[in-house]
């Protein structure tokens, strides 16, 4: 397209002051989310720095200490005398790593499937839709149970199985976006100049699709953490001695009547992390959706 150079507008036409960029305002729920996350992330980051917090060291003379009694064990100890604070903090770090890996895998697979289905349509779309339905038909918990009957459970296996199955949400949304872009002039026009479809796909479709991927990823993090915890609870995730929230709650369940904090404290940590991400991502998604509506498609 050729651009016609316009003469600069006279000063008078722009006399109105330029609109001040709107201040980003945090919604109250986002503030709550940030505070919740800060507690978990702070504890996780501080644990390796502070001396004396060992998640593995057992002390059989100090088992089942309640929280807030012994300053050396601020959150108490478990039935083997291990420090609960250290174990919960290490478990958060482990969860963070696994979650990031899973979400990345999901985003890449789902967006690829979605773009291909939406951009090419037809048979490719039908085949990919059968694939999505197959993945949806096998609940991830059942699938992992089946896989664990074959291969011993581990963190890597969780990443692989959940990472390769939890992508249908990405595929749905990106398919719709790509299908809407397919017929747009700025996507079709380069083909008249000899560009192939791959060019349109990478130069024009992908830049308009991936922000949607980010939005889904932001809302999906919380769900993934919960799925992961359920798998750990069933003994199908991270294996001991590495601590995990789900496994800690499973182990603490036996002491529910006498020492309920063994269940409640890891649960609170999980609540802070998941709830924090949820409340924060609401801000992010609302803002991003608004921005897309205002800007429209990027050419």
């Amino acid at each position: 397209m050729t651009t016609v150079a316009l003469p600069p507008l006279p000063e008078a036409a722009t006399s109105a002051p330029p609109p001040r960029p709107r201040r980003r305002r945090l919604r109250p729920s986002a503030v709550v989310g940030i505070v919740m996350l800060a507690v978990v992330v702070g504890a996780t980051a501080l644990r390796p720095v502070l001396p004396g917090f060992d998640p593995f060291g057992q002390d059989l003379s100090r088992v089942l200490l309640p929280p807030f009694v012994d300053p050396a064990h601020p959150l108490g100890t478990d039935p083997l005398g291990r420090d609960l604070f250290s174990r919960i903090a290490l478990a958060s770090a482990v969860t963070l790593g696994i979650t990031v890996a899973i979400v990345c895998l999901n985003a890449v697979i789902g967006t690829t499937v979605g773009i291909l289905a939406g951009f090419f349509g037809g048979r490719i779309e039908s085949a990919l839709s059968v694939l999505s339905n197959t993945v949806l038909a096998m609940p991830v918990v059942l699938l992992l149970i089946a896989v664990c009957a074959v291969v011993p459970p581990s963190a890597g296996l969780t990443i692989l199985v959940v990472g390769c199955t939890w992508w249908v949400g990405y595929a749905r949304v990106t398919r719709n976006v790509a299908a809407a872009l397919r017929a747009q002039d700025f996507v079709v026009a380069p083909r008249t100049q000899g560009a192939d479809r791959f060019w349109s796909l990478t130069r024009h479709v992908l830049p308009n699709v991936w922000p949607h991927t980010l939005i889904i990823a932001a809302t999906d993090i919380a769900t993934i953490v919960l799925v992961e915890a359920s798998l750990e609870y069933l003994g199908l995730g991270v294996q001991p001695p590495t601590p995990s929230w789900g496994a800690m709650i499973y182990d603490g369940q036996k002491y529910l009547a006498t020492d309920p904090w063994l269940v409640i404290l890891p649960g609170i940590a999980m609540f802070l992390a998941v709830g924090g991400v949820q409340f924060l991502s609401q801000q992010f998604t609302a803002e991003a959706r608004g921005a897309f509506l205002r800007k429209g498609a990027r050419r």
Binding site: A137, P139, V151, A229, S230, V263, G267
Partner: protein, 305 residues
């Protein structure tokens, strides 16, 4: 409509085929079970003989075709430990799981429907915010943790409700409340979005303009239009609901599929796990196809789009 029906059925058939194939591949990955079934001191000749008698010495493609035949006639092999039909064992445990999932779905959906209707009847933004916050808080903890909190309050402290097993109608309460509250938020969001969508339509404005009352418009016009797509989404969530049920069953020692399958994993009893996975997956595809056809019957536009 016929074309839609055929296309939908073909899609369902292809999905079932893929699921079954994945089930077979997983089964092959376990390898031949002879060494697992015999005592540790069995000779390798005995192991080979047992594998041969179970058909594991045949070419893979023959085993695959035999497996497909088994799926069609409903024979997925015997459990390694219990020496009964694996599908029979799954079938035996199914009523308990279906009972739990059914009541959880009903309670969760009914609760969400009531909440959504009240929100839209009152038009109260505060009510919507409060319900939304409560739901989001519930969704921030996993089912098994919420379940243990309920046990701590209602069984351990108050001694009101049983915390284990499936002995009386009262033992349904805690697992169903756990699952239903977890599902509630999703249904509420879907219903609220669908109703808000309808509220902006011209026909609703017209209905208000000719003086119809808010309840009349909501119940006779907006709800019938808003419900079908929400039901379709709820059908898609069936897999998630069953997955959640598996975990909650383990918490409450509920004698359903979840307990059967997790026990089978620790005993490396693969046929049971395979039968359970295939059964759930096929049930999911069948239910979803039926929901789709039902929605298309209620709203023919979905069939043509």
């Amino acid at each position: 409509m016929l074309a839609f029906l055929l296309r939908r059925l073909a899609l369902a058939g292809a999905t079932v085929f893929l699921v079954v194939t994945i089930g077979f591949v997983l089964g092959r990955l376990t390898g031949a079970p002879g060494a697992l079934l015999l005592p540790d001191n069995a000779s390798s000749a005995d192991v080979d003989a047992l594998n041969a008698s179970l058909g594991f010495d045949r070419p893979v493609i023959v085993q695959y075709l035999d497996f497909l035949r088994g799926v069609v006639v409903g024979d997925l092999g015997d459990s390694y430990r219990l020496h009964e039909s694996a599908l029979g064992l799954v079938w035996e445990r199914l009523p308990a799981t279906v009972e739990l999932a059914f009541w959880a779905f009903l309670a969760g959906f009914a609760l969400a429907l009531v909440a959504a209707v009240v929100i839209h009847l009152s038009g109260s933004r505060i009510l919507r915010a409060v319900v939304g916050w409560l739901g989001a808080t519930r969704q921030a903890v996993p089912d098994f943790f919420f379940a243990l909190l309920l046990v701590l309050i209602f069984s351990v402290t108050l001694g009101l409700l049983p915390s284990l097993g499936r002995t009386s109608p009262a033992s349904l309460v805690l697992p169903v409340v756990t699952l239903a509250t977890g599902q509630f938020v999703m249904y509420l969001r879907l219903l609220d979005a669908a109703l808000s969508d309808q509220a902006e339509q011209d026909y609703v404005r017209t209905a208000f303009a000719i003086g119809q009352s808010r309840p009349t418009i909501l119940f006779t016009q907006m709800l019938p239009n808003a419900l079908p797509p929400v039901l379709g989404m709820a059908g898609l969530n069936l897999g998630g609901l069953l997955g959640g049920t598996v975990v909650v069953e383990v918490v409450f020692a509920w004698p359903g599929l979840g307990s059967l399958l997790t026990a089978a994993v620790s005993q490396r009893d693969f046929p049971i796990v395979q039968a359970g996975l295939l059964f759930v997956a096929v049930a999911f595809v069948v239910v979803n196809t039926l929901v789709d056809l039902l929605v298309a019957r209620i709203d023919p536009r979905t069939a043509t789009s």
